[in-house]
Amino acid sequence: MSKPMDTKAPWSPAPGTRARIEALVARYPTKASALMPCIWAIQDEIGHVPPAGVDLLVETLGVTRARVNEVLTFFTMFRTEPQADHVLQVCHNISCHILGARPVIAHLEKKLGVRMGETTPDGKFALEGAECLGACGHGPCLQLGKHLYENLTPEKIDRMLESLRRGEIPRADTDRELED
């Protein structure tokens, strides 16, 4: 989830993020090998890696800017731009397609008023396609941050969107209550 950016001051890491990065550098066998988890640490805080984040990675890990940007542009989940509040990633691969991903996508496009690949004007929702999310037996499915929603129907989607508009992350089946 992205927080509104203060466009005046360049980003600098929250204490928690900084601590996390330090711990990662200590844990991984080389500084360069901690690149991916450090990118996640930054992204977990603000939803993307801004130029100041690239600077931090270059300084902390001793890698080149070119290298950081290569990795940021190679992996689908890494983002360099501020993201919408809720990025809905709908699987359009083969099993979900057979089980009805297209009607699900069409329904979402209608309800959100945007096409696949676009963001709603208020910046709240972005609709993206995704490749196989490993939920094939329970498709159609979509991913929202760290939550996986399966067995989608138009009704389920409507309930999800209502929740999100209220500011609540809907519970997914994979978020099932686990015994402690």
Partner: protein, 511 residues
């Protein structure tokens, strides 16, 4: 040693030899390739150098295969040719048909391989081609066309492995992959133009050379860069008296496969509009006949000091010393033309022949010393090359004296000289330079001398001490100088003569 058979030909090579190199040896020409480069790590991504090795079910890339004793390799059979053709086609499907406006035309890897393996009609719809950014300036010297790029990654590896500066990367995945600098970074290291050399296509091209000349019109002359004491071996590309670019010439002992950007731009001095094109005295142009008379008059009245320069060739400096015939000789300003060295090729000494002065036992002077020697000189001052009058102390000392200057540009020294005589630039004459390793390397003449410029040694040959017994030719001059120094200067190999090998036995007494 390993014995292997390539295309039916048996060859023997050292253990650990790369199959790619063994194939070049056996075939007399390299396998088709883009990404392999002997001075960079192996990438294995272009997939063009695939060959058939008996016993291996799939074709294998020769660049990542080591020879084994008994290997039987086929590089020209139907299966291999077909694969090369298929892979080449893959390289071409998104490649823009830019040949008419692309500088690489005529020396393009894609063109060459297409002529060898292609010659078919394209199967790709124009509208299907992936479009990327074209003609993007990525640094002071280099311009990038992302559509032309075949993603061989040579440029990326060069910046990572040779300069260690890492400006370039390959971003995105799949056919959206593209070469580029990181945001906010320029490709501005002093070796950036080497990426243009190694780019097999017209993706990375030189801004300086852009649209200047079609490469098939260029002639090449082998020579040596005179930008610094490293003496990188170069190739001067020129046409009709104009130099268009310099390229490095491989020399494992001196510069490997590279040269620096500063060195590449030294050709510009040859065609600089400040060239000294004709003899001049008192601000007026003279013919050589008149200049010759003036010189005779000045020399006849006596020359008190001869000043050379580390920019001049070994033969010229030797002749200057001979012309001095015992009169004081200075090698010029000791600390002129010095800068910052880098970790690779660029030497702090920005002259090509300081080691030559050393070899001749001619010392240089600090500005104050040189000024003093000028003041003490009993007679005219003859200056060969360099620009000592750029030093205020020297300019002051020269003021009011009779000065003869042999040089190539209308610099400070030329302007205060009583008589300025136009010499030849490094690309307009033959001559020997001694680099920082003590290696003797040869300049060769690439273009005709501009204006009325003459070979410096011939100008010196007019001086009284030389005149009576002047060498008839450069070769004769080299023989004389060589005999004196105990070196054979007439038979330098193309890759130069190392100091250890320079001690040729003195032949008895022939001058």
């Amino acid at each position: 040693m390993a014995k292997l058979t390539i295309d039916g030909k048996e060859i023997e090579v050292a253990d650990g030899t790369r199959l790619f190199d063994a194939c070049t040896l056996a075939r007399g020409e390299a396998l088709p390739h883009f990404c392999y480069h002997p001075d960079l790590s192996v990438a294995g991504v272009c997939r063009l150098c695939q060959v058939e090795v008996e016993g291996m079910p799939k074709l294998t890339i020769a660049c990542n295969t080591t020879v084994r004793d008994g290997m039987v390799v086929h590089t020209k059979n139907e299966r291999v040719r077909k694969a090369a053709q298929q892979v080449l086609e893959m390289h071409l499907i998104n490649h823009p048909v830019d040949c008419p406006i692309c500088d690489q035309a005529g020396e393009c890897g894609l063109q060459n391989q297409y002529m060898e393996y292609g010659l078919y009609d394209s199967e790709v719809e124009e509208a299907d081609k992936v479009n990327k950014k074209k003609a993007q300036v990525i640094g002071p010297q280099v311009i990038l066309d992302k559509e032309r790029c075949v993603l061989c990654s040579r440029c990326v590896r060069f910046c990572n492995e040779v300069t260690g500066t890492g400006e370039l990367g390959i971003y995105n995945r799949g056919d959206r992959a593209e070469i580029g600098t990181a945001p906010g970074i320029e490709l501005d290291n002093n070796y950036s133009l080497n990426t243009v050399d190694i780019c097999p296509v017209g993706a990375l091209t030189s801004r300086d050379f852009r649209f200047q000349k079609r490469v098939w019109m260029l002639k090449s002359t082998e020579s040596i860069c005179t930008g610094c004491a490293t003496g990188c071996n170069v190739r001067i590309d020129h046409e009709a008296g104009r130099i268009y670019r310099l390229k490095p010439r491989r020399n494992a002992e001196v510069n490997g496969a590279w040269m620096c950007d500063k060195g590449r731009m030294t050709y510009k001095g040859v065609h600089d509009e400040k060239r000294l094109l004709s003899p001049a005295a008192g601000g007026e142009r003279l013919t050589w006949a008149d200049a010759g008379q003036k010189l005779a008059a000045i020399a006849g009245a006596g020359v008190g000091l001869y000043v050379g320069s580390a920019h001049q060739t070994l033969e010229e400096l030797w002749l200057l010393r001979r012309a001095a015939a015992g009169a004081p000789v200075s090698g010029g300003l000791a600390n002129a033309d010095r800068g910052q060295a880098d970790a690779l090729l660029l030497d702090a000494d920005r002259t090509p022949n300081r080691a030559g002065l050393s070899l001749l036992g001619v010392g240089e002077d600090e500005p104050a010393q040189l000024a003093e020697r000028i003041r003490k000189a009993q007679g005219a001052v003859v200056i060969l090359g360099g620009d000592p009058a750029a030093e205020p102390a020297v300019a002051e000392a020269l003021g009011g004296r009779t000065v003869v200057y042999v040089g190539t540009h209308r610099n400070a020294t030329a302007q205060l000289a009583t008589l300025a005589l136009p010499g030849a630039t490094w690309a307009e004459k033959a001559g020997i330079m001694v680099n920082r390793q003590g290696r003797l390397q040869e300049l060769r003449q690439a273009v005709a001398r501009a204006g009325d410029a003459r070979e410096d040694w011939r100008i010196l040959a007019e001086l009284p001490a030389v005149r009576g017994d002047a060498p008839a030719s450069l070769r004769a001059l080299r023989q004389a100088a060589g005999a004196d120094l105990g070196l054979d200067l007439t038979n330098l190999p193309a890759s130069g003569l190392a100091p250890a090998g320079a001690a040729a036995p003195k032949t008895g007494g022939d001058a």
